[in-house]
């Protein structure tokens, strides 16, 4: 019955549940390993700038003197390369997506002031 091959499927589609989610009422699917957005634990950062150098889309800017770390969310392609090259492993990829935006989405992270140059090896003071 070449005419009705689709009928079974069509009926199943009509009577069945929708395959799509009622987003945003239902949150989007997310998995543990989903690459959603990049975050930094700034207190561990040593401002080496490795993430900036390896950033494929040049989304990251690190300023060693001012102790800032900056990411352009619209440029970022969430490849996770920064997390991979970080020597202190202080960049993470979180599974949830950044909310959509219409304007610029540069996120600016100010690091804590350098700790006194002895004891605790938290942020090492750079000369």
């Amino acid at each position: 019955m070449p005419l009705f091959t689709m009928v079974k499927r069509a009926l199943a589609n009509v009577t069945g549940k929708p395959a799509t989610l009622m987003y945003p009422a239902t949150p989007a699917k997310r998995y543990e390993g989903t690459r959603g957005h990049v975050v930094i634990a700034i207190e561990d950062c040593i401002y080496c700038g490795n993430c900036q150098r390896h950033c494929v889309s040049q989304a990251i800017t690190v300023d060693r003197a001012a102790r800032t770390w900056e990411i352009d969310r619209l440029r970022c392609i969430i490849c996770g390369r920064c997390a991979e090259v970080c020597p202190k492993d202080c960049i993470f990829v979180e599974p949830d997506y950044h909310p959509s935006t219409t304007g610029p989405a540069v996120e600016f992270v100010q690091g804590p002031p350098p700790a006194p140059p002895k004891e605790e090896k938290k942020p090492k003071a750079e000369e």
Binding site: Q58, E70, D72, L74, R75, G103, P104, A105, V106
Partner: protein, 128 residues
């Protein structure tokens, strides 16, 4: 895994048509024609295959050299690559059966792989 051997034969430009004809009579298929910019010169590779092994004819040409088109032999497959070489690298290929005169790749800057365009960085935060 089948080892895919790749033989490269360096030939002068004048031998190209003859060699190509030979491959065609042997029943080889044209895999691709690729060009690489080596700074002061260009390498053009014509790759043929019959099964798994590749054979490449390699021309080394300078700017301004004229390459004859092999579309006389490979009438269907060659024109797209030859037009690409012309459009992206600015080399001139003569007698292509379908000559787009530089309109296959409609790039803003002519021959972008020969004269790299000046890079303008999009400002941070997007250009929206």
């Amino acid at each position: 895994m089948i080892e895919q051997k790749h033989t490269i034969i360096e030939i002068p430009v004048s031998d190209l048509l003859k060699k190509t004809e030979e491959y065609h009579t042997k029943g080889h298929r044209l895999v691709q024609i690729g060009c690489t910019n080596l700074g002061d010169r260009y390498e053009v590779n014509y790759t043929f295959t019959k099964s798994w092994d590749f054979e490449s004819l390699r021309l080394t040409v300078n700017d301004g050299d004229v390459i004859p088109s092999i579309s006389g032999t490979y009438w269907g497959g060659a024109f797209i690559y030859e037009n690409e070489i012309h459009d992206l690298f600015g080399l001139s290929v003569t007698d292509i059966n379908v000559d787009f005169q530089g309109h296959l790749f409609e790039t803003k800057i002519p021959a972008p792989f020969k004269n790299p365009p000046k890079v303008t960085k999009v400002p941070k935060g997007g250009d929206a």
